[in-house]
């Protein structure tokens, strides 16, 4: 029995992650590492243009290539030619109309990957160009080319509370701003991939890198025209997701499935990086307009927000992302009057989708920028302005009118992060003044609604299976996925804690749609929460059979049995013990069922989609990040020196996994804030590589300081709250505010690349005369971050 287990169990500890040892040895098999005899390799022929009518597809050259076994087009799909989660507006293969670069025209299967991709390049489409639209604001104007029938406005979401005109009169300062916020590429290190294994034309197994095997199951069943039960989807070890493998992973899987049914052979598809970046979903680019007012004391009186989101050519998850952005627009602030409109617009750009934060990072960036502008106009410390406006235990009604449960830790997050960052000391000492290294500090604060929004609550349920083996070891299956964030470790910890055994005894296996129930996608920081509550339910049911056997061995009543440290013991008499493994052996010997299922669904909530008021989320997490930056004002280069994070996590489940989420979230957020720019040239991604799309390296990573706050009252397993997304959302805002603090200018554009920073300095830049519009690109080339330091 381990010491830790003897004293309260593994919860909150740092025991080894169960997946770490195999991964570090290189023995974990991802999709690209799986092969079967006779397996074919798939490739995709895609559109090079964003808007066109397909006159003809010339396939003869592709079919004639040595090694090619199938070249398929839309007419070859046995079921419905449709993908998409919310709206079925996207074909798997284009029939007549191209709406974005990367739209699939044909599928190829060949005996080698080289032959497959060469054949894909030999597919010659005859395309008649159509007018396209590439700006979401322009897309909503009358006369804009329509991407789909029925116009480009997909939907508008609103929050309406109170009378803006009345409160406008009471405001002493008003900030009006228009923020242009760019998208982001997920840049998971493992490209999208899957392996499809057919059994005749009756059934199929898909092994895939994904965040939601159940979405993949639905998409494959639809394109093949077979029942859900005939599709078995197993999640392979997944090399990063961040939202990019939530819905999009269904598309490569559907392609491989169609090819596997057509050829009768296993088919593997792994996207080359360039195509993966070009064709997969992105964090949405948005334009956010603000009009916020505060009184003389800095108390917010009203906030108006109008956001236009670029959905791209297909809806994907855009309306769901917009739903979250809409209710996240005000942040953790008390505002008497709120008016938010969030519009979703079709364009012929790459399509937006899920990305860690799901619409909240963009609107949080805008809200926190406006808070700093208000502070500057009032001549007030930005920290103090936030302290005066944050929700707390007395004032706990959110911008949608939802009453938060106590404790509301916004002020504690602010104060703890400020202490960690040395906010007061930084502002007391004189700043480094040279142009080459101007220092600044900025705050970002988020109130994050955990789990799915009211609009998606039909998906907010989860399933678990717990099997007690005859030797006392335990199998756990959950419907939520591991993609690096630590869900295996979280599920293992929770199961071990509940069964009173060492975590090493518990083996958590990745989900498979034939072994566990549909648990929805692993998103919205819901993985550990939903896995954990389903596991606890399964353990509760298992104990209805385990406890009586233990009680018999212990000579007590079943109601007196407790489990801890690998033993069952009599409550109040810890010396009367029997090992859990002995109980398991006894159950096996007596042929008592050692398997139990568990289920959890979130509580139903009231929310009015018309006015955007009510309870969009079951509960919330809070996080504050404070960034300290150095800016080279000549070059416009931003260096994030340090980020201090304070986060309300409810209860720590696995401390290393938690810290890893915060550290990784901060660096991913920082990349979006300063260096990751999706350069779209009429809908085509002009920088689809890691040389031209620069994610942070080890040399760019700031020092990260963390303080986590545990609190009572959350409904998660042992009181835990989601951590994956609150770890990222405040950083970009904090970095923006720090840069503006350093330079004394307002920057309303993300990312803060050198040209953007230099342009914001305007006439104040030492080489302003050089920086005509025409020269900005040259300047950028010279000033891009040097990978080698």
């Amino acid at each position: 029995m381990s010491k830790r287990a003897a004293h309260g169990g593994p919860l909150g500890g740092r025991h080894e992650r169960p997946d770490a040892r195999a991964k570090v040895a290189g023995s974990t098999r991802y999709v690209a590492d799986l092969a079967l005899p006779g397996m074919l390799h798939a490739a995709l022929a895609v559109s090079p243009v964003p808007s066109a009518r397909v006159a003809r597809l010339e396939l003869a050259a592709a079919r004639a290539l040595d090694g090619v076994e199938a070249v398929l087009t839309a007419g070859d799909i046995p079921g419905k030619n449709q993908v998409g989660v919310v709206f079925l507006d996207q074909p798997l293969l284009v029939e007549d109309r191209v709406r974005m670069v990367g739209d699939r025209l044909a599928l190829v299967a060949a005996r080698t990957p080289e032959a497959a991709w060469q054949a894909a390049r030999l597919v010659q489409p005859l395309l008649e160009a159509l007018p396209g639209v590439h700006d979401p604001v322009a897309a909503l104007k009358p006369g804009a080319p329509s991407v789909h029938e029925g116009g480009n406005l997909v939907r508008t979401f609103r929050v309406v509370r109170g009378d803006v005109a009345r409160e406008s009169a009471r405001a002493h300062v008003v900030v009006e701003a228009e923020y242009h916020i760019g998208g982001q590429e997920h840049a998971y290190l493992e490209p999208q991939g899957c392996l499809a294994i057919p059994e005749g034309r009756e059934r199929i197994t898909i092994i895939t890198s994904c965040q939601c095997p159940f979405y993949v199951q639905q998409a494959v069943a639809r394109v093949l025209g077979i029942p859900l039960a005939a599709v078995r989807v197993e999640q392979a070890p997944t090399g990063g997701g961040f939202g990019g493998k939530e819905d999009y992973a269904s598309e490569p899987a559907a392609c491989a499935a169609v090819l596997a049914f057509a050829t009768g052979k296993p088919v593997r598809l792994v996207l080359p990086r360039e195509l993966d970046m070009q064709a997969s979903t992105k964090r949405h680019a948005v334009v956010v307009r603000h009009r916020w007012g505060a009184d003389r004391d800095g108390r917010l009186r009203f906030a108006e927000v109008d956001t236009v989101m670029d959905a791209g050519a297909y809806i994907g998850l855009s309306t769901v992302v917009a739903e979250r952005a809409n209710v996240s627009s005000i942040g953790p602030y008390h505002v008497p009057v709120v008016r938010v409109a969030t519009h979703v617009a079709y364009t012929n750009n790459l399509f937006g989708g899920a990305f860690r934060g799901f619409g909240a990072p963009q609107v949080t960036w805008a809200a926190e920028a406006t808070m700093d502008k208000l502070a500057r106009q009032l001549g007030m410390d930005p920290l103090e302005l936030r302290r005066r406006n944050v929700l707390d235990d007395r004032r706990r009604r959110t911008s949608t009118g939802q009453l938060l449960p106590r404790p509301v830790l916004a002020r504690e997050c602010l104060d703890r992060a400020a202490t960690l960052a040395g906010w007061d000391e930084f502002h007391a000492r004189p700043r480094a003044g040279s142009a080459a290294a101007r220092e600044g500090m900025g705050i970002g604060l988020v109130l994050y609604g955990c789990n799915l929004h009211h609009g998606g609550q039909r998906l907010d349920r989860s399933s678990a299976v717990v099997i007690l083996q005859a030797d006392g070891s335990v199998v756990v299956r959950v419907g939520l996925t591991e993609m690096g964030q630590g869900n295996l470790a979280a599920a293992q910890t929770i199961a071990a804690q509940a069964l009173g055994v060492d975590p090493a005894v518990v083996q958590v296996w990745q989900p498979d749609t034939t072994t566990v129930g549909d648990s929805g996608p692993t998103v919205a920081s819901r993985g550990a929460h939903m896995s954990g509550l389903a596991i606890l339910d399964a353990v509760r049911r298992l104990r209805t059979r385990l406890d009586p056997v233990a009680a018999e061995l212990l000579g007590c009543r079943a109601g007196e049995v407790e489990l801890a440290g690998g033993f069952a013991f009599v409550r109040g008499e810890p010396e009367r013990t029997v090992p859990v493994a002995r109980v398991a052996a006894e159950m096996a010997a007596r042929r008592i069922e050692g398997i139990a299922t568990g289920w959890h669904r979130t509580k139903a909530r009231r929310f009015d989609p018309e006015t955007g008021t009510g309870a969009p989320y079951e509960f919330y997490a809070m996080a504050c990040h404070i960034a300290r930056v150095k800016v080279d004002a000549d070059l416009g280069l931003v260096r994030v020196e340090e980020v201090s994070a304070a986060q309300d996590v409810g209860r720590v489940i696995h401390r290393d996994a938690l810290e890893g989420q915060i550290q990784g979230g901060i660096v991913q957020g920082m990349g979006w804030a300063i260096s990751e720019e999706l350069k779209l040239d009429r809908g085509r991604l002009a920088n689809p590589s890691f040389t031209d799309y620069t994610i942070p390296t080890a040399a760019d990573a700031p020092k990260v300081k963390i303080t986590v706050m545990e609190s009572e009252g959350a409904t998660g397993p042992f009181g835990a709250k989601g951590v994956g997304e609150p770890s990222l959302i405040p950083t970009p805002a904090a970095v923006r505010n720090a840069v503006c603090d350093a330079l004394g200018v307002e920057i309303d554009r993300l990312p803060l690349t050198p040209p953007t920073v230099v342009a914001a300095l305007g006439e104040r830049h030492p080489f302003a005369w050089l920086l005509s519009e025409r020269r900005v690109d040259d300047h950028e080339r010279l000033a891009t971050f040097d990978r080698d330091g």
């Binding site: 770490a20 023995s27 290190l189 290393d656 040389t691 390296t697 080890a698 990573a701």
Partner: protein
């Protein structure tokens, strides 16, 4: 039958010979011909570092090395870092310090980290600079550098 070239190399300490097409990448020789799938392909363009191996002791991205050019040389992959069935101390430190998340970049990071340690580089910011050819999207690098520092500390004791 297409043209083939003979590649004889020391692979994880063992003398091996392969017949491969002249254009074959070292990455493909390792994964497809030698069955060493620990070396990953993340970009195929030498940008991400997931395919890093040691070529005569120096880290290289094996997606940019022709298999034929490894003829007569010494190659070590992530599978070759362990000795006598025990992980390299840096691999062990990545596990115990929580430096592993999705794991796809991890083999490349393990290989580069071992090279950094072999060069006796002890300064954490210099270690971070040397590791900057290995992209990681999960960890934010903090625990990876902590793992390097753990081994550096052990060696200095």
């Amino acid at each position: 039958m297409a043209e083939r070239v003979t590649v004889s190399l020391t692979l994880n300490g063992e003398r091996r010979t392969f017949e491969v097409p002249p254009g074959r990448r070292l990455l493909d020789l390792l994964r497809d011909d030698a069955g060493l799938i620990g070396t990953k392909e993340g970009c195929g363009a030498g940008e991400c570092g997931a395919c890093t191996v040691l070529l005569d002791g120096s880290p290289v991205t094996s997606c940019l090395v022709l298999a034929a050019s490894a003829d007569g040389h010494d190659v070590v992959t992530v599978e070759g870092l362990a000795s006598a069935g025990r992980l390299h101390p840096f691999q062990e430190a990545l596990v115990t310090r929580g430096g592993v998340q999705c794991g796809f970049c991890t083999p490349g990071i393990a290989v580069t980290g071992v090279a950094i340690l072999a060069h006796r580089e002890a300064d954490p910011s210099e270690q971070a600079r040397l590791l900057s050819g290995n992209l990681c999207r999960c960890t934010g690098y903090t625990k990876v550098i902590e793992a390097l520092q753990t081994v550096t500390g052990m060696e200095n004791e």
